[in-house]
Amino acid sequence: MTRYIVRRLLLLIPVLLGMTLISFAVTKAIPTDPIIASISQEASNHPEIVAAYRKAWGLDQPLPVQYFTYVWNLLHGNMGVSIYTHRAVVDDLLDYLPATVELATVTIVFSVVLSIPLGILAAMRRGGMIDFVVRMLTLAGVAMPIFWLALVLLNIFYLRLGWAPAPGRLDYALQPPPTVTRLYIVDSLIAGDPATAWNALSHLALPAFVLATWSVGLLTRMTRASMLSVLPQDFLRAARSKGASEFYVIRRHAAPNATIPVVTVIGLAYGDLLSGALLVETIFGWPGIGRYAFNAAVHVDFPAIIGVALTVGFIYTIVNLAVDVVYALLDPRVRASLTAVRA
């Protein structure tokens, strides 16, 4: 098992290098001159200003040198300076990423807790009323233009009913908790301040709910399909024939087998939530990485875009690795095949 994890970690290196190469190539292939985008039109008419700018950003070097400089800097935790915010991209990411991670994590936990029972229930009542309702609702969830749903819910629950708090991570009157993980809920609990944690959670509720329409749709559909492929199998009939109750058969035999493939999808969905939070973040004024990426894109701020793309890509890759490991731990058959490879 350890060897499997180490091998997977080593395989990450070429993938990550490849990702830096692709993101670098994208920025170079695009016709827009970041100089024009970041300094004023008037300043770009002065060749000496442009030349000084190019030199400052290393843009006067040949391409391979630019690339190796970039990777070298990355290895030292330097992602360059954002052309738009004039701050180190790493500092920007440290500010914005935790808000997104907090949002995506609450969303995925909520989705999993809701989806797995819902999917199992729908599969058990296949073709019935519950199944139909669940299927239509989850289908609408996957098809939902969430930017519209976000606007509607914000209008109803914040502007009209006043149930939801104002946009942002905390009420204005509250101080952010002392920084430990930069996740407000976790940090305020560490600081022994449940009121602030509760406030952070209440700010999170509506955006997380909107995001979850998609992930609940996806995960419920996956659970249902997976459960349907497990239900007709012989080992369930065997369990029933030995006299086990229906609840026991589902709980101990069907559900564990059905949820294993769903674990993979949970990992993928979490990665998609990190970048898919973009729309929700823009609408709810959530100071997350998606909104940062959007501002960066609009201002053709390539150091920032590459920073976001690489960071999310990196998290995505790590999460998928973790998912594969969990998958192997959960499924005795996969575990056995890994041990067999080692022997």
């Binding site: 894109a297 976001v308 793309a309």
Partner: protein, 298 residues
């Protein structure tokens, strides 16, 4: 006995075989849900195609005096802040969104199938290079990439299509490669190789025709996802530009006047219903094809 069926055919076989055909068609008849999905798509397609006939107003014509009128018999979907008829704008918006979504899927399909079939057929180093490259692209947050490309090229309808197409192809590579790998081992492929057919002939004339139906189904269902993604770019202001009507951009216009709900909601409905319809069709096809989920396994 042996003569009877030979004698009867002239009269009864045509009608009986027609009956049998009908029964077979009914047996294979896509279930009601697929019919609903197809119906939703056809209705929208018809409305959009007939937009110049149905819509009583010019989608670009502003009548400030009639701004923010609620839906009525004259203005079915009401009017927006500039007094433009939302119904006309929704229909004309479809003339941007639908072809754009089809174009995105078509480009993604062509690029993905080309790379995937070459990777699956050549195997070895070509396969490794193509697949690792695909994996790396898949590792990126695609919406961020698409957004970056769209913004860098300059926001416009055409650049929105390019941006989405640029990130659309990887799933097609993977599925096409898997299909080609699988089909390559079929006896009829081995036979045509033994018969001395050139590799290109085997790939294009023997393997691909057998892989295409599955890939085309995948592409057809994918149009719903493309409509949704395209509206996201439009909402962010990175797709079609005003005053061009486009569904996502129209929702963004309505965002500031949510109390006048119809301005944002009406353009969101075609996105929701179309994406829903394509998914419904996809589900029906999957249900019909999957021996486990379909429950038809003996």
């Amino acid at each position: 006995m042996t003569d009877a069926p030979m004698a009867v055919p002239a009269v009864s076989l045509p009608s009986r075989s027609r009956l049998r055909l009908l029964a077979a068609a009914a047996g294979r008849m896509p279930n009601a849900e697929m019919a609903v999905g197809v119906a939703i798509i056809l209705v929208w397609a018809a409305l959009i195609a007939a937009a110049p006939v149905i819509a009583k107003f010019d989608p670009l014509r502003q009548q400030i005096a009639l701004r923010l009128q609620p839906p009525s018999a004259v203005h079915l979907f009401g009017t927006d802040q500039l007094g433009r008829d939302v119904f006309a704008r929704v229909l004309y918006g479809g003339r941007e969104s639908l072809p754009a979504a089809v174009a995105v899927v078509a480009v993604g399909f062509l690029v993905g199938v080309s790379l995937g079939s070459v990777a699956g057929y050549c195997r070895g180093i070509v396969d490794d290079v193509v697949m690792r490259f695909t994996d790396m692209v898949l590792g990126f947050p695609l919406i961020v990439l698409a957004m970056a490309v769209a913004a860098a090229l300059g926001a416009s309808l055409a650049h929105g299509i390019v941006a989405l197409a640029a990130v659309w192809w990887p799933p097609y590579v993977r599925v096409c490669r898997a299909l080609v790998l699988d089909l390559s081992n079929k006896e009829y492929v081995v036979a045509s190789r033994a018969a001395g057919r050139r590799p290109a002939g085997i790939l294009f004339r023997v393997i691909l025709p057998n892989a295409l139906p599955a890939l085309l189904v995948m592409a057809a269902i994918d149009i719903g996802r493309a409509i949704l993604s395209f509206s996201i770019l439009g909402f962010l202001g990175l797709g079609a530009q005003p005053p061009q009507p486009e569904w996502g951009a129209m929702v963004a216009t309505g965002a500031t006047v949510m109390d006048d709900w119809w301005v944002a909601t009406c353009p969101a409905m075609p996105v929701l219903t179309l994406a829903f319809a394509f998914n419904l069709i996809g589900d029906s096809i999957r249900d019909a094809l999957d021996p486990w989920v379909g429950g038809r396994r003996q």
